[in-house]
Symmetry: C2
């Protein structure tokens, strides 16, 4: 029944020939070819550096202005980077500001670390700076996610600059989850930067390498880098060395790889956005990432019925702090998106 | 200077042609061949199950009596298994009993999780049950490590059974770190078992797969399994799928692989144990794992001088709760062990 819809775990790993899943946010497109090319000769097996392999950190430093390999810590995906960061910079009871709607892991992650999430509402998915500034007071950190999962919205550059300024003035750490930084349709990414910023990133979305689990944190604050390494020494040690070597190969992929992916994502975005508009739904046009978050009547019943009666998986907006909405990932091919839209249409008309 | 000897990180990753390292506890012997054989054809890239790949959990369940794949969670090495376990079963302020000398990560791991380590002394590396029982009162969990890093000692089966009984009676969880379970020279391993036990294990020592980071936790308590999965969903997601596939291949290695390794370890054990005795040092004969923990005069100066003057890395016993001793890992070939012993002899005679 509908009350089984407690979190996305109910849908994770579900497969079926006739199932259309707008659920999990993972690219269906393949990683760059060269990622697999090193495997036949791979023979390493010893512990790697806790901070991460030098070649990978060196390669990353070329992507971030005025950085060097000492500024990076390679992690088991962006999830571990977030976890290590909060455990390193916060003490139990500290407050962390999150903008709504938010990625569903943020709140449990903060709570499991005995931190208090504080929320700022957004307007059409955009941060309302006045509310943000008010709510940020007394917070240890703010967590920014642009482009956002689940809204697909990006934050305005002028607002991001204001956030940099106010956080620097009040000694608040900005934790900037930029895992969708390379999937923006509207403009180049603006990376939040400064001494108070920890950037979280990953190879999962840009290079479709979700399963390998290679993420990282980047910070100019040497103390944060040092603390996260000290913590990781005891909580997981090095990130899998073979996955890191594959990630290193991905950094050498031609720029055309990302361009081609972006073209495909944009086509799908247009398809699903227009398709849902045509069904009469109210939704924001995604500017990045690969999610839409339409309003639907009785979301819990909708998600349940779409799944049970029409074999369509969607996620409940409530998991993302958006109780009037449902989330659809469009990380699936055009044909399936069309078939899924058809089924949703059938359901909504009934 | 000597005061740089704060923790093992000072030595990690150090290499040099003339350097003899008794430091890091990682096998120098290679993993089973078949681990690498799957690589040329490997093409998967999507998220795996948070709990771990089914084939690997299925294979593991065959190694544990009356278990099934639902009892296992695959983790980024034993370190993550320990971290997830303590975060899942404890609340900040809870007490956890640890026997001295202990693996150096235990205390920082507990402290970083806001838990209070409580210590029981051992007699020649063996748990003193009366003291154990007294100190266990009021603890949320006890952490057992047999065979032990850094002592190489195993706990008596009769004592392990008493620990099972008293912990069950007092509703104390036993966290049993058995990563050296397959490296015992004296008898077969006795696995602590029961509804109150969480077994921690890994592919790092048995199969020399340290760098890939595949460990796991095993428990009959479904609630603990569920909680650790829920936590891992937000803190790191699945363990690297390619590393898990390699670990699955390792489970198919012939029994002769482990037998051959054990024969080599035993030879090295005999060599270093007798060698250090011959130098007049007081130490316990290791019954498992690959460490010795001799008493030396002025350990801090000894570790520093051995490193600076003789290019020999040893670890300070103080990091393991054994301030009168130093730890030597004998995970290096016979020739190097002999050369290292010679240098230590030269130093001690001077």
């Amino acid at each position: 029944m509908e009350d089984q819809l407690k979190d996305p775990s109910i849908f994770i790993g579900l497969q079926g020939k006739n199932l259309i899943s707008f659920g999990s946010g993972q690219p269906d497109l393949a990683p760059p070819e060269q990622v697999f090319k090193i495997l036949p000769k791979y023979k390493q097996f010893k512990y790697g550096l806790i901070q991460g392999q030098e070649n990978l950190r060196e390669a990353l430093s070329k992507q971030y202005e005025k950085s060097n390999k000492a500024n990076f810590v390679i992690t088991n995906g962006a999830s571990e980077a977030l976890d290590l960061t909060f455990r390193s910079i916060c003490q139990p009871g500290d407050k962390v500001l999150v903008h709504k709607p938010y990625y569903y892991s943020y709140v449990p992650l903060l709570e499991k670390n005995h931190l208090k999430p504080v929320f700022t509402e957004t307007i059409n998915g955009k941060i309302d700076f006045n509310d943000f500034e008010e709510k940020a007071k007394g917070c240890k950190a703010v967590l920014i996610n642009s482009p956002s999962n689940p809204t697909g919205r990006i934050q305005e550059i002028s607002i991001l600059k204001k956030i940099e300024k106010t956080c620097a003035e009040q000694d608040i750490t900005i934790v900037s989850d930029e895992v969708y930084k390379d999937l923006i349709y509207e403009r180049k990414n603006y990376m939040l930067h400064g001494d108070h910023v920890v950037t979280i990133n990953s190879f999962s979305k840009t290079f479709a390498m979700c399963g390998f689990r290679v993420g990282y944190l980047y910070s100019k604050d040497k103390n944060i880098v040092k603390k996260t390494i000290a913590l990781k020494t005891h909580t997981s040690m090095n990130t899998s060395i073979i996955a890191q070597e594959m990630a290193f190969e991905a950094t050498k992929a031609p720029h055309s790889y990302q361009q081609e992916q972006l073209t495909i994502w944009k086509k799908r975005r247009d398809l699903i956005y227009q398709g849902l508009l045509d069904l009469g739904l109210d939704l924001w046009n995604p500017e990045g990432a690969f999610y839409v978050l339409p309003k639907v009547p009785n979301p819990r019943k909708t998600v349940w019925d779409l799944f049970k009666k029409h074999k369509v998986i969607t996620y409940l907006g409530d998991w993302f702090g958006a109780p009037e909405r449902i989330r659809l990932s469009y990380a699936l091919d055009q044909e399936k998106i069309e078939e899924g839209l058809k089924r949703i249409g059938t359901y909504l008309k009934a």
